[in-house]
Each structure stands twice: as C-alpha cells, then as structure tokens.
C-alpha cells in the first residue's frame, strides 16, 4: 500500500519536473500565437540552442573566469543563455516572419519550418551532430520510504527545476499583469490595429514576445540540459512538438493555459511510462493532441478563436 503510494508520488514528481519545462517552452508558442496568430515552428530550435549555449558557458566560459561557486555558475549561465537565445528569437522574427506578415498564412508557416531546418543544420555544422554531455552540476537528493522497499526520491536537480520554473513563471505573470509593457502585450494581442491607433509601435511589442518566449526556452534549455545531461542538434524538434501540444492542451494563446498544459502533459507522460510502457508515452501525448483538436480546439483555458490578421 505504502509502496504503491510512494511509486505514484515518484511518478508525479518526475512528471511535474518534465512538465514544468514543457510549460516554459509552451509559453513561447502561446505568446507568439496570441499576438500574431502564427505557430513559431522554430521555437523548439531556440530551446535546443539554449542547451548548447548553457553547455558552452558551463564548460568554456565559467572555467575561463575561474568561478567555482555553484549558484554563481548557474546564474551566469542562465543570464548568458537567456540573452543569446533572446537575440536568436528576435532575429528569427525579423528575418523569417516580419517580411511575410500580412500575407498568406501558409507562407509564414513554410518560412517557420524553413527557419527550423536552418537552425538545426546550423548547429549541426557548428557543433557536430553527435551527443554532447553536459556536466552534472547538481547532484544528490532526498529519498524517503522504508529502507527495504521502494524509495521515492526527490533530487536536488528536480527541486532546482521546480524553483527555477516557479520563479520564472511568477515573474512572467507579474510582468504581464502589472507592468506597462505587459499591459501593452495584452492590448496588442487583443487588437493590434487599435494599439497602433494609440501610437504604440506594435512591431516592438511583437519583437518583445519573441524575446520573452526565447528567454523562457533558454531557461528550459539549461534545466533540461542539466537534467538529462546530454544534448544534440535534434532535440528541439520533439521538445517543440511536446511544448506545442502542451500549449494547445491548455488553450493556445493563454499563458496560464500553457503552464497548466505543460504540467498535465508531463504528468500524463510519466504515468503512461510507469503504468503502461515508456514506448507509449509519445503515442499518448500526441493522441491527446489529436483528441483536443477534435473535441475541444480551444483547449482547457483558451477562449474561442478570434480570427487574427
């Protein structure tokens, strides 16, 4: 009995760990969709780039600076990675999306897919296509349960993921709800034309959403990079699909929806792996995506679709 409960709790913790990183990536999809009504298919690649920047910072920059204090290493890595990834996010919008905005949606979609393929190959050429290992900076954890039987564990790494995600999302929520720019983001995603008629430079607000989305993907990049301890140029694709599923599940365009969707998806996956088979995990995720698209296209927290131009 206790054993079953502990096993369940373990799966829940694992699911929430992965789920919170899905949520971080999903926010980028949902914010961009909310504002310009397009799916930024290159967003998964930003996350992938984030893992590489984190890796390069940890294994190259930090030793160069001679820093050994762990919190400082994490903060510097995060700052560098968020900054560089944001620059990529900003540039993607400028180069691939803005020139085709207002035209046929299919053109924007093709441009996004093209950008995604380009980034993948760009990293492959620059960094090689083989897996690279991330140093495991955060080790150890707590175990609880009877010494003989099944022990549930919460690693410090998982705890770090929870805390980092919580702070990031809390910060974003406050920013969107309270700040002047956050208010402008909401106004522009509701009625871009009207915002322009109030003198607001809507292009800047669009850029800002790409920057924020990319910065959050970079946070996920560091977290998952450390958690899995490995990265390669192809991880962006599947992570992007998962996060996209999470965004749709929660209701695309809704930020709380993306958070909820990410967590739900993570837990669903870990439960599937634990109680059925890990081979079914992706089938269940994408099955879920199809079911939602069929029966509740607005997602759990989404509003009915408003046609965006």
């Amino acid at each position: 009995m206790l054993e079953t409960a502990l096993y369940f709790i373990q799966q829940l913790l694992n699911g929430l760990t992965i789920g919170s990183t899905y949520a971080l990536i999903a926010i980028g999809y949902t914010m961009v969709y909310g504002i310009i009504g397009m799916i930024n298919f290159a967003h998964g690649e930003i996350y992938m780039i984030g893992t590489y920047i984190s890796f390069i910072a940890i294994s190259g920059l930090i030793p160069l600076l001679g820093i050994e204090y762990l919190p400082l290493i994490l903060i510097i890595t995060l700052a560098v990675s968020m900054f560089i990834s944001s620059t990529y996010g900003w540039a993607i919008e400028r180069i691939a999306y803005r020139p085709v905005r207002g035209g046929n949606r299919l053109i924007a979609l093709i441009s996004a897919i093209g950008m995604s393929i380009f980034l993948q190959n760009y990293v492959r050429i620059a960094q090689g296509s083989r897996d690279i290992a991330m140093p495991s900076l955060i080790q150890g954890g707590w175990s609880f349960g009877p010494p003989e039987g099944f022990q549930a564990s919460l690693s410090y790494m998982q705890l770090f993921i929870f805390i980092a995600t919580f702070i990031t999302m809390g910060g974003l929520t406050l920013f969107i709800a309270r700040s002047r720019m956050g208010r402008a983001c909401r106004a522009v995603s509701e009625d871009m034309k009207m915002a322009g008629l109030l003198g607001i430079n809507t292009n800047r607000i669009i850029s800002l959403t790409f920057v924020i989305g990319a910065a959050l993907a970079a946070v996920a990049g560091l977290l998952l990079g450390l958690y899995y301890g490995v990265t390669n140029p192809y991880i962006g694709f599947i992570a992007g699909l998962k996060a996209f599923t999470a965004a749709v599940l929660g209701g695309i365009g809704s930020i709380p929806g993306a958070m909820l969707g990410g967590l739900l998806l993570g837990v669903t996956e870990s439960m599937t792996s634990a109680y059925f088979s890990s081979e079914y995990k992706d089938v269940v995720s994408f099955g879920l995506l199809i079911l939602i698209l069929l029966f509740r296209p607005t997602g759990l927290l989404g509003k009915p679709e408003v046609e965006k131009i």
Binding site: R180, R183, A187, E190, G196, L197, G199
Partner: protein, 233 residues
C-alpha cells in the same frame, strides 16, 4: 490644422476615396456625413495612415503625414475613437486608459486621468471593471476617454452615436461640445446627420468616395438635397 488635398485610397482594386479635398481648422467641429459605404471611415483611417493614401497629400499642423506610419501619426497630437469603439475587452477600464496614456509621464497621466474622470464620472466608478462587460454607452465613453488620454489636439470620432439610446447620444454630443470649448479640434463622422450638423461649425457630405457638398452646419441642415438624402425629407 488638418488638410487633405486630392486624396485617393484603394483597397486592392477598389477605390474607396476618389480625390477628397477638405480642411479642418483649429478649434472647429467639422462633421462628415454620408451613406453606408461612402468612405467616411476610410477617410479617417487614411489620415491615420492605415490604409495609406495611394495619392494626394495630407497635412496635419502643416506637416506632410501622407507617407508616415500609423504610430508616428498618432503620437503627433491626433487621436481617434474608431468605428465600433474597439475597447480592449480583456483589459480593465483603468488599463484601457493606461493604454491611451502610454506615452505620457506619470504627472501628465494623473492630471489627464482626472480630466477624463470629470467628463465621465461613470468611468471613475468602474475603473477596475473588465471593459468587455460594460454596456455599449459605457464602452463608447471609455473609447473617448482612452483617446483623450493621449492628450490630442485634434480628435476623430467615427459614429460615436451608433447603437446608443438617445439620452446617451445627447450626453456624448454635450461632451464633444465641451471638448471644443476647451480648445480641442473635432472631426466627427456621423450617420445621425441632424445632430451632427447642428453641432458642427462646418460639414462635408461624402458620396461614393467623393465630397459632393460642403458648407456651414446650419446651411447644410436646410439644404434641400441633404434634407432628402440624410434627414428623412
């Protein structure tokens, strides 16, 4: 203050404005009337740069704004209360007003806000209400208040009376008059020709993208053609 010279505007192949020339002088209320689809909204929006004029010239306070982009034009002292109000439904009343006052500093913001609340006490009471849940009349007040928050010298109003009860319409026309008395220049588009012309110093009649008549408000009110077409005989 505002001058249009032979302005043409196209939506693709459709020519919505066919060489419009008109002028609004500082401190005036000028009304523009015309049937559905005459191009009234297009005219206002063309001055705002969305869509851009395909030819002709638009001068605002002497500056050529024909090719300027919308945000720049709207930051230069012009504000619009667009057709259909377009309040940000998911934002509260105060947040909507904040969007209007996006570029003013805190001090200016506070004093302008006080002014708007004086004009529309209802907005003060409803500050934290989500604007999408307000009545049509309240939303219209908010749309006007939001435009005023930008501290414009000239304001465009596109059919502010549409869909409102007579008592609210009167209230809004009184506010417009009050704004003029405070020195605001007003360009008013209306289907409610009677009230719009009575209020106006001068008026223009737009038909099929062309100005067909212009005169003082009083003269247009008694003009035979105007009476037949827009005042119900």
């Amino acid at each position: 203050m505002l001058k249009l010279q032979n302005v043409h505007t196209h939506y693709g192949k459709i020519e919505a404005l066919k060489g419009v020339s008109l002028e609004v002088k500082e401190g005036e209320i000028v009304s523009l009337i015309g049937a559905n689809g005459a191009g009234k909204s297009t005219l206002l929006m063309t001055v705002c740069g969305d869509p851009r004029a395909s030819s002709g010239k638009i001068l605002f306070e002497g500056n050529d704004i024909t090719q300027a982009n919308t945000p720049d034009i709207m930051r230069s002292g012009l504000a619009i209360v667009p057709e259909g109000r377009r309040v940000f439904a998911g934002l509260t009343v105060l947040e909507n007003l904040h969007m209007g006052g996006f570029f003013t500093n805190k001090q200016e913001f506070e004093s302008t806000l006080e002014h708007v609340f004086k004009l529309f006490p209802r907005l003060r009471e409803r500050q934290s209400q989500r604007s999408g849940t307000m009545s049509g009349g309240e939303q219209q007040m908010l749309a006007i208040g939001r435009a005023l928050m930008t501290k414009p010298r000239m304001i465009f109003l596109d059919e502010p009376s549409l869909g409102l009860a007579p008592i609210i319409i009167n209230q809004i026309f009184e506010i417009i008059e009050q704004l003029r008395d405070e020195g605001m220049t007003v360009f008013l588009v209306e289907q409610n020709a009677n009230q719009a012309l009575r209020l106006a110093d001068r008026g223009y009649v737009l038909e099929n993208g062309e100005v067909v008549l212009q005169d003082t408000g009083d003269n247009l009110l008694v003009n035979e053609d105007v009476r037949k077409a827009y005042l119900g005989g």
